[in-house]
């Protein structure tokens, strides 16, 4: 392996190195602040290597992984998301009085896995990354003691294992038919002629991916796991894990040219419509904020699928922008929940938000901005993302999908506004809430403020990010 190859892999190497370093440090000296700082620093360094790697493109290729602009953009997104989650976790874990150190090791490992997923251009490397990610997540979900933690962990473990079986079987069938596991050679191999096993193989593959992305009808686990997991882990699950899988899915289906397969387009159209409606309708019935956000994330992945079905440069840019906006929003939203959680009780029940604005205006303001962004109100990043996806969809004349998107997001407004209205309810007993100063609140507060500013910046002046996305993700198309 040449030096140039090693350099292109430096983001992955930095994260792996940090994992080792943190493990070593934890073995010698257990100090929460030290572990968290090392983790954050490692992620920051990994983030800083990305522009350098980008300048070296096109780098040398290895058949298992390809570090191209597309991968670099998504790695940047994933590292930044992990960094934000890490900083928020510190004050959350401080209150839990659990052993916090291994948490960071698992978090780093999961980030590594997700990064491997986005650089993979081969089924083997993809599956490897996916397993690193999933195994770390099993442990993370059940981390810290709390109501439903173990249940959520086991549920995720069993269902993820089952979906991995589907995924593997699908991959095996595709391999049996095409004779290759490389994404790039998939297109030419398929173009040859009618392949009987390709369709069932792809279907099983999609089932596996659908589980990871919690698309309807593979979404059953989502609300329980989201509710059961610690809030920062839920933020990680909703952003990093889904983002990485979506990135590779977009890459794979672009390489194999989804548009030449009518049945695939139809399947994705149906899944997208089902996800939008089921997600938004079931969210109406929930009384727990984490469950509401879980169902809303199902709907949001449905919106993202519109970009996948649309295809083309505009759609890939749209997907990149949408994911960036969604990352900021969902991490911010779960960050607020983590911030509001006291001890082992999480601020999950919708009643704990009643009149919150008058008690804690700043954090409520952040939460309202996040909810408005999820609802797609202008001047927030969520609007630009939704606008972009709609543009991509209309450009490809997917009227059915677009009308579903519009109708279902109107339904979605109900539950976002319901939470906002509840926060503004006048509370008669103006009891003064004693807010105990908490260790690490500073870091989490700064992260929340940053996320809010980024959200509004992306919503009001999106041109720079669009430029970045265009420069990087076009490598795909």
């Amino acid at each position: 392996m040449s030096a140039a190859q090693l350099l292109t892999l430096s983001p992955l190497l930095v994260v792996s190195g940090t994992v080792t370093l943190v493990l070593f440090v934890v073995a010698v000296r257990r100090k929460h602040l030290l572990t968290a700082t090392l983790t954050a620093a490692g992620l920051l360094v990994a983030l800083c290597t990305l522009p350098m790697v980008y300048r070296m493109l096109p780098g040398p290729m290895i058949s298992l992984i390809t570090v191209d602009g597309y991968a670099i953009f998504f790695m940047g997104l994933l590292f930044a998301a992990s960094l934000a989650v890490t900083l928020m976790s510190y004050q959350y874990l401080e209150q839990q009085k659990a052993n916090p150190d291994e948490y960071y090791v698992l978090m780093l490992l999961a980030t590594l896995g997700s990064a491997v997923i986005v650089v993979s251009t081969h089924f083997v490397s993809f599956f490897l990354g996916l397993e690193i990610l999933s195994v770390s997540l099993y442990a993370l979900i059940a981390y810290t003691s709390g109501l439903f933690r173990t249940e959520a962990g086991i549920k995720y473990l069993i269902l993820a294992a089952a979906s991995d079986a589907f995924l593997l079987f699908g991959i095996a069938l595709i391999y049996a038919e095409t004779g290759t596991m490389e994404f790039a050679r998939m297109g030419p191999a398929i173009a040859g002629g009618h392949l009987a096993l390709l369709l069932p193989g792809t279907a099983l593959f999609v089932v596996g991916l659908g589980f990871k992305l919690s698309l309807v009808p593979f979404h059953m686990w989502t609300p329980d796991v989201y509710q059961g997991a610690p809030a920062p882990v839920t933020a990680f699950l909703a952003s990093v894990s889904k983002g990485a899988v979506f990135a590779v899915m977009l890459r794979y289906f672009t390489e194999m040219d989804i548009h030449s397969h009518d049945s695939l387009v139809l399947a994705f159209t149906l899944i997208a419509i089902a996800s939008m409606f089921v997600g938004n309708l079931l969210a109406l019935l929930q009384n727990h904020v984490k469950r509401i956000l879980a169902y809303s994330s199902i709907a949001h992945l449905g919106y993202l699928l519109v970009a996948l079905v649309a295809g083309g440069e505009l759609a890939v840019t749209a997907a990149g922008y949408y994911l960036a906006a969604y990352f900021v929003t969902i991490i911010g939203a779960f960050g607020v929940i983590a911030w509001l959680s006291e001890g082992e009780t999480e601020a999950d029940a919708i009643d704990s938000y009643r009149g919150l604005v008058w008690k804690r205006p700043w954090v409520s303001g952040v939460f309202i901005v996040m909810l408005l962004s999820l609802a797609g109100i202008p001047l927030t990043a969520g609007f630009v993302g939704k606008f972009y996806v709609m543009a991509a969809g209309i450009g490809a004349t997917l009227w059915l999908l677009i009308v579903s998107l519009v109708v279902s997001s109107v339904i979605g407004l109900f539950y976002y506004l319901r939470v906002v209205a509840l926060m503004f309810t006048r509370v008669t007993d103006d009891e003064e809430v004693a807010i105990t100063p908490r260790a690490g609140a500073m870091a989490a507060g700064v992260v929340l403020a940053m996320l809010t500013l980024i959200l509004i910046w992306l919503g009001t002046y999106p041109a720079p990010l669009i430029d970045i996305i265009r420069k990087t993700v076009v490598h795909l198309t």
């Binding site: 209309i394 490809a396 109107v410 265009r470």
Partner: protein, 526 residues
């Protein structure tokens, strides 16, 4: 010079933030900050207006007074683009006037969370001014949505008993309409892009895009739904009564006086010039909806006992005239529609203020519990009488001019629409006099002493009375201001301003395969 339009929007934004911050020191500061800011805006508008009338006297091409075109999201062909013509000027002037009225009328009514209230009020006004100025379709959509959020808070926080329900209903109706418009905007973007090879949301570039019949009709319908919800036209009106009734007085004034006008403005600014062919089919139906609205609104108003709800239903009736006038598509009717929008803003705004005052004093809006107020509060009753007369279309007051022009304009082309619409005028007499008869005449029902209009309220009422009489006696000032626009709308080519210098925002995207194949066929057929 051209930055002056941005200033018009920036001043309320600064005032909104300023009043929020300053409320911590003194609860009176936000009110004064907002008034000062609106006064500054008014000065700018008066400056532009004098400039405009001088231009109109000297040159013929006085359509656009000022324009701004800044780069914003060049990758998608979205620009920060504002322009002002006579129509926008009048609408912005109305916005600022009613904004002042809203600040003054909530002087004693709003006592809690004063800073946040004025923040929302001014943010909403900034959004409305933006709607009246934007000439980039995405920018227009953004302003259109931005004014909703503060209004949602105004209703949801400071409203009456059933405020949360009303606020959510209001938000969802308008947002749903807005999303259909966004779909239509994007559809127009791609159709125009395919036709011209340049992808842009610039209003001036999009004018005159040839549209195949079916596509044009669909896109027009998308815009129409959004504006019809706002206006509100009859099948989409159900949010209005709840929102108006539950909102605080200032919220009702802005809702009735301004938000409804954005719908009428959108019809004139966008639907008429962008989709002339589709309108040949649709206009009769739209006029029918307008007539139904006139009659239905009047009948419903008559049936109400809640005074605020009654005034809300009169809005549906009055704005039916706007819909009728706009879709008649001749000069007279369009003049009438514009006139009606302005006068309805002032007269209904004033009525909501008066209802708010009554409710503040006697604690109810129920007509059955009022009676004989004239002997107790003569000044208040006199003012109410003037605006009730304005509402029923008494000659000499502004509303008469609007309704008369609409009816005259319509009668020439479609008498069968004008005849039932004229019945609406009769019905308006019935409900307006019912307000007076029930609440102000008749036996006295309330024993407690009621305070008459305070000096502050008297000044407010007096200025609105002056405005409505002035509009009734000298409507020509308004008509002159708006006439270049009305003339140009009949011939959309004349609306284009920047035909010579190519739009810097425009970008050429690669034509992706499979885009709008209908359009391409339709385009080649033409």
């Amino acid at each position: 010079m051209d930055m002056i339009l941005i200033l018009l929007i920036i001043i309320p934004v600064i005032a909104s933030i300023g009043s929020w911050i300053s409320a911590g020191r003194n609860a009176e500061w936000p009110r004064w900050i907002c008034l000062t800011a609106l006064f500054a805006d008014m000065l700018i508008i008066l400056f532009l207006w004098t400039e405009h009338s001088q231009q109109a006297a000297s040159a013929e091409s006085a359509l656009w007074l000022a324009a701004v075109n800044l780069r914003w999201i060049p990758q998608l062909g979205i620009g920060f683009q504002l322009a002002m013509d006579g129509l926008s000027l009048l609408m912005v002037a109305l916005t600022v006037l009613l904004g002042m009225a809203a600040v003054v009328c909530s002087w004693t009514e709003i006592q809690e969370r004063v800073g946040f209230f004025h923040f929302n009020l001014m943010a909403c006004l900034a959004g409305i001014i933006g709607v009246f100025l934007a000439t980039d379709l995405v920018l227009f959509y953004i302003f259109w949505e931005v004014m909703l959020v503060p209004m949602y808070f105004l209703i949801g926080i400071w409203g009456h008993e059933n405020r949360i329900y009303a606020a959510i209903k209001f938000f969802i109706f308008t947002q749903a309409g807005g999303l259909f418009m966004l779909m239509a905007i994007l559809g127009l973007y791609f159709v125009h892009g395919l036709h011209a090879g340049v992808y842009t949301f610039n209003y001036f570039e999009m004018l005159g895009t040839p549209l195949p019949a079916l596509v044009g009709f669909g896109l027009m319908l998308g815009f129409f739904i959004a504006f019809a919800v706002k206006l509100p036209a009859v099948p989409f009106h159900t949010w209005l009564a709840d929102a108006h009734t539950e909102a605080p007085t200032a919220g009702s004034v802005i809702l009735a006086g301004l938000l409804l006008k954005t719908g009428g403005y959108g019809l004139i600014r966008f639907i008429l010039p962008l989709f002339p062919e589709a309108l040949d089919v649709w206009a009769p139906f739209a006029m029918g909806i307008g007539v139904v609205g006139i009659i239905y609104g009047a009948l419903m108003a008559f049936a109400q006992t809640d005074l605020k709800r009654l005034v809300a239903y009169t809005s549906i009736s009055h704005l039916g005239f706007v819909l009728l006038g706009v879709f008649t598509r001749n000069d007279l009717a369009l003049f009438g529609a514009v006139m009606q929008m302005i006068c309805h803003g002032i007269s209904t705004g004033a009525l909501f203020i008066l209802v708010g005052i009554v409710q503040e004093r006697i604690g109810t809006r129920d007509l059955n519990q009022m009676g004989g107020l004239w002997s107790v509060v003569p000044r208040m009753s006199g003012v109410t009488l003037i605006f009730a007369l304005a509402s029923l279309g008494l000659p000499g007051l502004g509303n008469f001019v609007g309704e008369f022009l609409v009816l005259v304009g319509t009668f020439g082309t479609s008498p069968w629409m004008a005849a039932p619409a004229a019945v609406g005028l009769v019905l308006s007499v019935v409900y307006s006099l019912r307000i007076m008869g029930k609440a102000f005449y008749g036996p006295k029902k309330l024993e407690q002493p009621i305070q008459d209009l305070s000096p502050r309220e008297t000044c407010l009422a007096a200025s609105l009375i002056v405005a409505i009489i002035w509009l009734g006696v000298f409507p020509q000032v308004v008509l002159n201001t708006v006439s270049p626009t009305v003339k140009a709308i009949q011939d959309p080519g004349r609306l284009r301003m920047f035909t010579n210098n190519a739009n810097p925002q425009a970008v050429a995207l690669p034509r992706s395969p499979g885009i709008l194949s209908i359009v391409r066929q339709g385009g080649s057929n033409r």
